[in-house]
C-alpha cells in the first residue's frame, strides 16, 4: 500500500511539474456544475470532451496552451476559474471576465523600477512564483447562456475550429482575449483622473504615446493623460516589437478619394462582410440613396426610390440605428450600386463595419460623420466622383508613422479605453474591444506587445543593439514554413546567423562564414539544429557581424 501511495505521489508530481510554462486551470466549481457539469454532449470542433463540463475545461486548457506557446514561462501560470451565472438578459449578457490577481514592482528582474507588472509576468522574470499563496489570474464565465432568461437563442460553442455557426458563441477567442488582459495587456491608470495606480505606472503605460502632443504617457501630467485617453486615433503604441511587425498583421488602410465638386482623401473603415477593397479600387460617381421611408438616406428600406439613379454608381448612405451595415449594403447592391460609402451617425472616426452578409459582393467602406457630410454637401453643387481603394503607404489601425493605434474613443469608455487596440485595425486583432468573428488563434499582433512589455528581456536586449549598416529582412511573416532571411552586406565580412526561441535559447544555427559583399538569402526550414520542426510562436533571427548585430522577429503559425 505504501508503494502504491508513493506511486500516486510520483504520478501527481510528474503531471503537475511541467518543464516549462503551463497554464494550470484551477477548477473552483462544485460537483455537478460548471466545469463539472455531467450533461453528455458529442465531441465538437476538435474538442474531444463528452460532457459539457469536460468540454469547458478543454477550451480553457486550449486557450492556456496557446498563450503558453507564446509566453514560455518557466513558472506555471495558474488560473482560478469557474462557470457561474453572470448578469444576463434575453438580448444581452456578460460572457465572462478575467483579470490579474496581483501586481508587483521593484522585484529582482524587473525591467523598469517603480513600475507595475502583473503577477504572471513578474514570476516569469524572476523565475519563481513570487506569491505562491495566490494564483495569477481569475476567470469567471457565464454558465446560464442559452437558458430562457439569458441570450436565449444562443449557446456556448466549445469547438476549437471557429465554426460556431449562427447561434453559437465561440468561447475560445473570448478566453484568449480575457487571458490577454490578465497577462498584462491592460492599463492600471485611472483614465478619468489620469492618476497611476499607487503613484507609479504599469509597464503597459510606458508604451503609450500621444502623437499630437508627442509625449509618452509617463512624461505627461495626469490632466494630459486624461486628454490623451480620448484623443481618438492619436493615442498610439511605441513598442518596437509591435511596430516593427505591424505591417505583417495589419492590412492597408482604406480610403475614399474624391474629385469633381469635392477634392479630397478620406480615411475609410472596412467591413468584414464585403469583398476586400483593392489597391486599384472601385471608381464611380456618388449618389445619395433615397429609400422613401423615415431617414430616407439610410437605405434600410428596399427597393430604393431612386434605384435607377443608384445603379452603376457608388451609393452614399447614412449609418442607421434600425438596420445593419450589411443590410444597407445589400439593399444598395440590389439597387445596382457598384460600391457603398456609409456615413457614421455619431462623432468619432470612420465606423468599422461589423456583421455578416455572404451575399454582399460590392466593396463597402465607412467614413466619419464630417467626411461623409462633406461629400453629401458637395453633391448639392455638382458631381462627385470617388475611388474606394487601399492606401499603399498606410496601415489600417496604425498612424501615419506605422505605430499601432490604441482605442481612445471620446467620450471615454472607462476600462475599455486605452486597454485595447483601436477598432480601425484591419484585419481585426484579438485585443480590440470587440471580439470579432474573423479572429484566428495565433494571437496576431498582440503577441508582439508582450515582447514590448518585457516578457522576453533576453530578446529585447538583442533587439536594442541593432545597427543600420546591414539590411536584414525576412519573409513571409507570419509564416508556416521558416521563410527566407535576406541580408545585404556592404563589404565582405564574417556573418553569423542564428534563430532563437521566445526564451532566448538558440534553436537553429543557420550560417557562420565569411561572405562577399552584396545580397544573400538563407532559407530556414523551420527546424532546429537537430532537424526537428519547431512549434508555433515568436522567434528571433539574429544576424551578427563583428560588433554589428541586427535582429528581427519571425512569427510561425500552427
Amino acid at each position: 500500500m505504501r508503494r502504491l501511495a508513493l506511486l500516486l505521489v510520483a504520478l501527481f508530481a510528474f503531471t503537475s511539474s511541467p518543464v516549462h510554462a503551463t497554464f494550470v486551470i484551477v477548477n473552483l466549481d462544485g460537483p455537478g456544475e460548471g466545469f463539472n457539469d455531467p450533461t453528455p454532449v458529442a465531441p465538437v470542433g476538435g474538442n474531444p470532451g463528452t460532457t459539457v463540463g469536460q468540454q469547458r475545461l478543454n477550451v480553457f486548457t486550449k486557450a492556456g496552451q496557446i498563450w503558453d506557446a507564446i509566453l514560455n514561462s518557466a513558472v506555471p501560470i495558474r488560473v482560478r476559474a469557474a462557470f457561474d451565472p453572470l448578469p444576463c438578459a434575453v438580448t444581452s449578457g456578460v460572457l465572462g471576465s478575467a483579470g490579474p490577481t496581483t501586481v508587483e514592482s521593484d522585484f529582482s528582474g524587473a525591467g523598469f523600477a517603480a513600475t507595475w507588472y502583473v503577477g504572471a509576468e513578474a514570476n516569469r522574470l524572476t523565475g519563481t512564483d513570487i506569491q505562491p499563496t495566490f494564483d495569477d489570474l481569475e476567470a469567471t464565465f457565464n454558465s446560464v447562456i442559452g437558458t430562457p432568461s439569458c441570450l436565449t437563442s444562443r449557446s456556448w460553442y466549445y469547438g476549437y475550429d471557429g465554426n460556431e455557426g449562427a447561434s453559437g458563441i465561440d468561447l475560445l477567442p473570448v478566453l484568449l482575449h480575457e487571458f490577454g488582459h490578465g497577462l498584462g495587456f491592460l492599463s492600471l491608470t485611472d483614465e478619468t483622473t489620469g492618476d497611476y495606480f499607487a503613484g507609479q505606472p504599469g509597464i503597459y503605460e510606458r508604451f503609450l504615446f500621444d502623437n499630437v502632443t508627442n509625449k509618452l504617457w509617463i512624461n505627461m501630467t495626469p490632466a494630459e493623460r486624461v486628454a490623451s485617453a480620448i484623443n481618438t486615433t492619436h493615442l498610439v503604441w511605441t513598442g518596437p516589437a509591435v511596430n516593427a511587425n505591424a505591417a505583417s498583421f495589419l492590412g492597408k488602410r482604406a480610403r475614399v478619394q474624391t474629385s469633381g465638386a469635392l477634392v479630397g482623401t478620406f480615411i475609410g473603415g472596412q467591413g468584414v462582410f464585403s469583398p476586400a477593397i483593392t489597391l486599384g479600387g472601385t471608381t464611380g460617381n456618388v449618389v445619395l440613396v433615397n429609400d422613401g421611408v423615415g431617414t430616407t438616406s439610410d437605405g434600410c428600406n428596399n427597393p430604393f426610390v431612386n434605384a435607377a439613379t443608384v445603379a452603376g454608381k457608388i451609393a452614399l448612405v447614412d449609418r442607421s440605428g434600425t438596420c445593419s451595415f450589411a443590410q444597407q449594403a445589400l439593399n444598395a447592391q440590389n439597387a445596382g450600386a457598384i460600391a457603398v460609402i456609409i456615413i457614421n451617425n455619431v462623432a468619432g472616426p470612420e465606423p468599422q463595419l461589423r456583421g455578416a452578409a455572404p451575399t454582399v459582393a460590392i466593396p463597402v467602406v465607412g467614413v466619419s460623420q464630417p467626411d461623409g457630410n462633406a461629400i453629401r454637401v458637395a453633391l448639392g453643387s455638382g458631381t462627385v466622383s470617388a475611388t474606394i481603394s487601399l492606401d499603399p503607404a498606410k496601415l489600417a489601425g496604425a498612424d501615419d508613422s506605422g505605430r499601432a493605434m490604441m482605442y481612445a474613443p471620446n467620450p471615454l469608455q472607462q476600462g475599455s479605453s486605452v486597454s485595447h487596440w483601436d477598432v480601425a485595425a484591419f484585419p481585426n486583432l484579438l485585443m480590440e474591444p470587440s471580439i470579432n468573428p474573423d479572429l484566428g488563434q495565433n494571437v496576431d499582433l498582440t503577441r508582439l506587445a508582450f515582447y514590448d512589455i518585457g516578457w522576453f528581456p533576453e530578446l529585447v536586449a538583442v533587439e536594442a543593439t541593432s545597427s543600420q549598416t546591414i539590411a536584414f529582412t525576412h519573409g513571409p511573416n507570419p509564416a508556416r514554413g521558416g521563410g527566407v532571411l535576406r541580408f545585404q552586406l556592404p563589404d565582405a565580412r564574417r556573418v553569423q546567423l542564428d534563430v532563437f526561441d521566445a526564451a532566448g535559447r538558440r534553436v537553429a544555427h543557420l550560417a557562420d562564414a565569411i561572405m562577399p559583399a552584396g545580397a544573400h538569402s538563407v532559407q530556414w526550414s523551420r527546424t532546429d539544429d537537430a532537424g526537428r520542426r519547431v512549434g508555433p510562436g515568436v522567434y528571433l533571427a539574429r544576424l551578427k557581424s563583428g560588433n554589428v548585430v541586427k535582429s528581427l522577429h519571425i512569427v510561425l503559425l500552427d
Partner: protein, 140 residues
C-alpha cells in the same frame, strides 16, 4: 487491484486541469473571498415582476430588477483599484493583491440583424450597465 489501476489511470489523465490542491489553501482577505464566491446572480426573467422595486423596461417588456444589476454588493464610484493597499517587502519590492477588482468583462448583445455585438469593459458596473442598456433598447 483493478480498482487501484483505474485510479492511477484516472489520475494520469488529469494533467493540466486540477481541482484546488489542498496544499495551496489561499489566505485571501474576506473581501477577496466575497469576490471569488459572489452570490449567484438571478436571471432577470425568473424574478417575479410583483416583487417590490421591480420594473418592466417599457420598450422591450423585459423584467429588470435594479438590485440584481448592482455590482454584486460592491458599490463603486471610483476606479476599481482606488483603495487597494500596496505592501512593501523587506527587499524593497512592492505588491498589491487586486483580488479580481481589475477584471475585463466580455459582454455581447444581439443586434438588429440578429448578429452578436461584442464589447469589452473593465468593471462589473460597466458590464451591468451595458446589459441593462441593451435590455432597454432591445439590442438596437
Amino acid at each position: 487491484m483493478r480498482t487501484i489501476m483505474s485510479m492511477i489511470l484516472l489520475l494520469a489523465t488529469v494533467t493540466s486541469v486540477h481541482a484546488e490542491p489542498a496544499a495551496r489553501i489561499r489566505t485571501h482577505s474576506c473581501d477577496i473571498l466575497l469576490r471569488l464566491h459572489p452570490r449567484a446572480w438571478q436571471p432577470l426573467n425568473t424574478i417575479s415582476p410583483r416583487t417590490p422595486g421591480m420594473r418592466l423596461e417599457p420598450d422591450t417588456g423585459e423584467t429588470v430588477d435594479p438590485a440584481s444589476l448592482s455590482p454584486l454588493g460592491l458599490q463603486r464610484t471610483t476606479h476599481p483599484l482606488a483603495d487597494i493597499p500596496v505592501q512593501t517587502r523587506a527587499d524593497g519590492s512592492r505588491f498589491a493583491v487586486l483580488g479580481g477588482r481589475l477584471r475585463s468583462y466580455s459582454v455581447v448583445s444581439i443586434g438588429p440583424d440578429g448578429k452578436l455585438i461584442p464589447d469589452c469593459v473593465h468593471s462589473e458596473q460597466e458590464a451591468i450597465d451595458l446589459v441593462r442598456a441593451h435590455a432597454k433598447n432591445g439590442g438596437r
